[in-house]
Symmetry: C3
Subunit: 435 residues, 3 copies
C-alpha cells in the first residue's frame, strides 16, 4: 500500500471541519493560557508520576505555572515514546512554531515564554478553533450548571449525570439538585420531576446529549429482578436519604436500587426529550488513591454489554452512543451496534485511545457496523489545543484503514473511501446528535 | 511484502476444491431461487434493520420476494462499508455478471430479473457448486430429520443437538424424540437408549459430526460437583418432565442437571460412534427480542474454555472441533488446541467472521497450533451461493498471512506455504471428519 | 516501510549484550548435552503429544536420549508451522551448522550425532553464552536452594515462592522450610521470621528478585475483607497445619487466608530487602492431567489486575514487574503501568509468546507506557541454547514496531529508535533489578 495514497486521504480528511462530540472544555476558559495548562493535563502528570516524579512535586499547592512546567520537563525524557508526548510536540510545533524534536531542560523556557505570548493574544481561542477546524465542541456539564455566559452553538451543552446516579445518597448532591430544580427529592415521583426540570433546562439551552460514565459491574436493569420492585424499593431508600437514615454499618443503604432507578429515569427523559444517552462503560474510579488528580482511575476488563440487554430493549426510541474503556469490549460494541438499531459506536476512549488499539477497533467497526452508526472520534479534551493532535492521530489511523481495507482490498475509488471517512468524522455527529 | 506474491498464493488456494464443514443448507432446496433468498440472509436483514429499516417492513407476512428486495435495496447505501455487502456484490458479479459497483434503486430491478432467469436454470445448483469448487457441504440436521431424499455424499448429515440439551423439558421436544426413536424417555437410561438410536440413524446415513451451539455460561461438567450426582438428579428431573411435574414457580426444574446429563450422553455416543463433536461456544440467544428472524442473538465475552476442562479430560477419544464466538476467546482456543490432543480449531464464527478478526486469529493459530489440528473455515451458509464470497474472503486473509509470516518472515518457498494453506482449507476437514 | 530499515534496526539490536531476567536454567547444568535436552523442552513434547504422539512414547521411563529424539522427529512434520519449531531450526542452524530446511527422519541422526560432538566440548556453555551475547541469566530457585557451587554474577539467584504461598499446608513444604531456616513455622509470627531468613540468605547470595506464578482467581488482598482479619485467621490455620488438623472434608482448611498472609509477608520482605516482586499472573495448573511433563497448564482469560489493586496501593516502595498469561490482559497491564509507579511490564509470557501477540502487545506498551518501565523480554528457557532464537524472534518484532511506529510514523532518526529498543532490551533490566 503506497504512502502517497494514505497521504492523499489524510489531506482530504484534514479539510473536513469538525464537531467534537465529547470534551471537558470549560466554555468560560476554553483555551490554554500557558504551557502549564497543557502539561497539566492528567495524561502528562500521571505519566510523569508513573515514571518516578513524586505527586507532591507536581501538585504542590499554589505552585507557579512556570515552576510546574520546569519540574515536569525533565521527566519528559522518560515519556518521549508515548503517543501522548507526540501530541504535545505536535501542539508545540503547530501552534507555537517549536521545531526541535524534543522538549528538554535547555529549550523549554524559550518555548514557555514564547507560547505564553501567543496565548495572550485576544483572539487566541479563535485562532485555535480555526487552525483545528473546529466548528463546535460538546461540553460535559454538571447537572446544576446554569449554562449561561457562553455561545451554546459553539460550546454545546451536554448533561453529565454521574453524580445523580452514583451519589444521590450524598446530602451535597441532593442539595445541589434541590437548588437547581426547586424540588426536594423525597421519593421516586419527586425524583422524576426534578430530573425532568434538569432536562427542560438543558434542552432549552441547546443541549444535545445526556452522558454518564459507568463502572464495569453496573447493570441498568437486572435480568432476574422485576423493575417494578426496584422502583418501589429505591423510592423508599430515597425517602430514607432525605430523612437521614443509614444502615447499621453507617452507610446509606439501597445504592444499587437507587442507581438503577435514577439511571432508568434518565433514559425515560432521554426518550421524552429526544436526547441521545452517551454511555461510557467500564471505569473503576480511585483505584490508585495515591495518584495525581484525574490519574487514579483504571478498569476491570471483565465486563460485558450483556449487562445493558434490558436497557436496549426497553428504550428502542433512545439512541445510545457507546464508548468502551477496555479494548476487549470493542467486539461486543461492534456486534451490539450491528444488531441493535439504538446502539452506536462512539470514539476511542482513554486507555483505548492509542494507535495500536484504535487501528484494530476502527477496522472492525468499518467492516461490521452500518456506516451511519459510527461516531469516529472525540477528543475528551480539557483545553482546546488538544483537538488538533488527537484528531490528527485518529485521521492518520483512519486513512490507513480506508486505504488498506477499502481502496486496496475492495477496489473503491479514493473519493468513495474519503466519503466514508467524512461520514464517521462529521456526518454522523450531526445526524446522531441532530446538530 | 509484494502484492504479486499474495496474488500468486490466492490463485493456488483458489484451485483447491472445498468441503464446507458447517452450513445450514437445506438439501432439498440448496440454491437460491431469487435475489430475495440471498438478501433475506439474516446478515442483510439485521444490518438493514440496525441501520433503521423497521422489522415490520422486512418481515411483513406473505410479502412477495421482489417487494422484499425492493424494500431492502435503499438501505444498502448505509451498509456498503460492511464486509457482508462486499459478499453480496461478489456473488452478483460472479454468478450474475453484475458489473456496477453498488446495488441501488436504479439498477436493482434489472439485477433481480436477470438473476431470477439464471437461477431458474435446471442445473443452477450444479452451476453454483462447480463455480464455487464445492465437493461437499455439511448440513445441520434436526435430531428427528429422516435424512432421506438427497445425496448424503454431497450433502453430509450432521446431528444438531441444541434442542436435546437445552429443551428436553419441553413436551414438543420429547414428543419429537419419542416419534423419531420409538422410545418414551423417562429417565437417564431411556434417554441414553433414545440418543443411541439417533446416532445409529445418523451414522447409517453417513453423518460425519455431532454439533451444538452453547451459551457463554454453560459448563458440561462442574469441577466441584460429582458427575454421578448429576446423573442421579437429572434422571429424577426427566421422570418429572415425563410426569408433567413443575416446580413451585411454574418452571420445570432441574434444567442444569439435565443439560449436563444430555450433553455428556452425547459425548459418550460420539465416542461410541467415532463422531467428532463440534462445539460452537458463546452465544446468548434472543438478546434483542425486537430483532428480525435470526438477528436477535449476541454474546457475553466473559466465558472461558476452562469450563470445558473436565469434558476434554473425560473424553480423550472424542475430537472436539471448537468455534468461539468472542474474538477474545481465540487465544484460549489456540492454547487449548496446542495442549489437548482432542481440541481442534474450527473456522471463524459469526461476529468473529470479519477480516479484522480473522487475520489475528488465523495468524495466531498458524503460529501456535499443530498444522494437523486446524480447520480453516466453514461458510455457515443457508444458501449455496454464499460459499463463494465467504471462502474468497478467508483465502485472501490466509494468503496474506502465509505470505507475510511464512514466505517472507521464515523464508519458506511459496509451494510450502501453499501446502500449509491446502491442509487447513481441505486436508484437515477430510482427516478430522473422516470424509 | 522498507525491509532494509527493519534489517538495519535488527542488526543494531543484535549487537546489544543481554541480561535474561527470567529463566529456569539449572546453573549446575546450564547447557544441553544432546539434542534430547532441546527436543525435551515441554514446548516440543506437548506439541508432539497434541498432534497425536502418545505420552507414554515420549515419557517412557529410562528412555535413551537418542531414542527419544528418534520418536519425536517424525511428529515435527505436523508442527513445522509453529514458531516453536522455527526456534528449533534456528538453534540447529546457528549452533550446529544444520542447513536443511526441516529436520526429518532422514537427516536427524547426522544432526544428533554432530551436535552431540559439539556439545561435548569443554567450553560449550561459554560458546553458547558468547554466541547468544548473554552477560547474565536470572534463575528460578526453590526457596530452600543453597545457592552454592556456581557463579552468582553470571547465574543470578531469584527466589521462587509458589510453594510457600500455595502449598504451606503440605507437610513436605513445611519440612523443607524448617530445614532451610531452622524455624518451625507455627503461626504468623514464626512464618514472618522464617521468610525473613530466606530473604536474608537469598540477598546475601546476590538474588535480584522474588517471583511467583499465580492462578487467575488469586487476589493478594480482598477489597471487602479487612487484612487484619486475614492475618488472625491465617495464623490459626497455620497452627492447625502444624498440629495436623484437617477440616471435616479431610482437606486442610483456610488455604485462602494462608495464601494471602504468605503472599503479603513476601511483599513486606521485598520492601525490606529492596527486591522487585515478579508477578506472573494467570496460570491454571494441571488442567490437562493426561498431558506430558510441564504440558498440562492452561488459563482462564477471565482475570483482572483489579484483583491487585490493594497490593499496589499497600506497597508503593516495591516494584512489581508483571507478566500476564492471557493476551487480553495486556491492555490492563499497559494501563496499570501507565498509572501505578510500581507496576512495570515484563516480557511476553508462554501462550502470549508468539509473534502475532507480541506485536500487538509490544506496540501498545511502547505507545502508552513510560519507556523506563518496560522490560522487553525474557526467555523462560530451561537450557541456554533457547535464548538465541527466542530473543531473535523478539528483536525482529521489536524492530518492526520501532521502524513502523517511530521511524516512519513519527519521523524519529533510526539511532533514536534503536536507543529505545536498547532501553527495553537491556537498560531497564539493569535499572529495575539493580544489576
Amino acid at each position: 500500500m503506497s504512502q502517497q495514497l494514505v497521504q492523499r486521504i489524510v489531506a482530504e480528511l484534514e479539510a473536513i471541519p469538525l464537531i467534537d462530540p465529547h470534551t471537558h472544555i470549560n466554555p468560560h476558559a476554553p483555551a490554554s493560557k500557558t504551557l502549564a495548562d497543557i502539561l497539566g493535563y492528567h495524561y502528562y502528570t500521571e505519566l510523569a508520576h508513573s515514571a518516578g516524579l513524586p505527586r507532591e512535586q507536581i501538585e504542590e499547592p499554589g505552585i507557579d505555572p512556570k515552576e510546574k512546567v520546569r519540574r515536569l520537563v525533565p521527566k519528559l525524557a522518560d515519556l518521549d515514546n508515548t503517543v501522548q508526548v507526540s501530541w504535545l510536540l505536535e501542539m508545540c510545533r503547530e501552534f507555537f512554531g517549536f521545531d526541535d524534536d524534543r522538549i528538554t531542560e535547555s529549550n523549554w523556557e524559550a518555548l514557555y515564554d514564547g507560547s505564553a505570548k501567543q496565548m495572550a493574544a485576544g483572539d487566541w481561542e479563535q485562532q485555535v478553533l480555526r487552525k483545528s477546524r473546529l466548528d463546535a465542541v460538546f461540553l460535559t456539564n454538571d447537572f446544576d450548571d446554569p449554562l449561561t455566559g457562553f455561545d451554546t452553538l459553539r460550546y454545546v451543552p451536554c448533561l453529565r449525570t454521574d453524580d445523580l446516579v452514583f451519589k444521590l445518597h450524598e446530602p451535597a448532591v441532593r442539595e445541589r439538585l434541590a437548588k437547581a430544580t426547586s424540588i426536594e427529592v423525597g421519593d421516586g415521583k419527586s425524583l422524576r420531576e426534578a430530573i425532568g426540570r434538569l432536562f427542560e433546562h438543558f434542552v432549552s439551552k441547546g443541549a444535545k446529549a445526556c452522558a454518564i460514565s459507568l463502572p464495569p459491574y453496573f447493570s441498568p436493569r437486572d435480568d432476574h429482578r422485576e423493575y417494578a420492585g426496584v422502583v418501589e424499593r429505591a423510592s423508599k431508600h430515597i425517602a430514607g436519604y432525605a430523612a437521614g437514615r443509614r444502615t447499621a454499618e453507617g452507610e446509606p443503604f439501597g445504592h444499587r436500587d437507587t442507581e438503577q432507578l435514577v439511571f432508568n429515569t434518565l433514559a425515560e427523559m432521554c426518550a421524552e426529550y429526544h436526547l441521545p444517552f452517551d454511555l461510557m462503560i467500564g471505569v473503576n474510579r480511585r483505584v490508585y488513591e495515591g495518584g495525581v488528580f484525574q490519574g487514579q482511575d483504571l478498569f476491570d476488563q471483565r465486563t460485558s454489554l450483556i449487562l445493558y440487554r434490558e436497557l436496549f430493549n426497553a428504550f428502542p426510541q433512545v439512541m445510545f452512543p457507546i464508548s468502551v474503556l477496555a479494548q476487549v469490549s470493542n467486539q461486543e460494541l461492534v456486534s451490539y451496534s450491528w444488531i441493535f438499531p439504538n446502539v452506536v459506536t462512539n470514539g476511542h476512549w482513554w486507555y483505548s485511545n492509542i494507535p495500536a488499539y484504535i487501528e484494530t477497533d476502527c477496522r472492525s467497526r468499518l467492516q461490521g457496523v452500518p456506516r451511519n452508526k459510527q461516531i469516529g472520534y472525540y477528543s475528551d479534551m480539557y483545553k482546546l489545543e488538544f483537538a488538533l493532535p488527537k484528531f490528527a492521530m485518529y485521521r492518520r489511523v483512519l486513512a490507513n484503514v480506508l486505504a488498506a481495507d477499502f481502496v486496496v482490498a475492495r477496489g473503491w475509488p479514493e473519493e468513495r473511501a474519503v466519503a466514508l471517512g467524512r461520514q464517521v468524522l462529521r456526518g454522523n455527529v450531526e445526524q446522531v446528535f441532530r446538530c
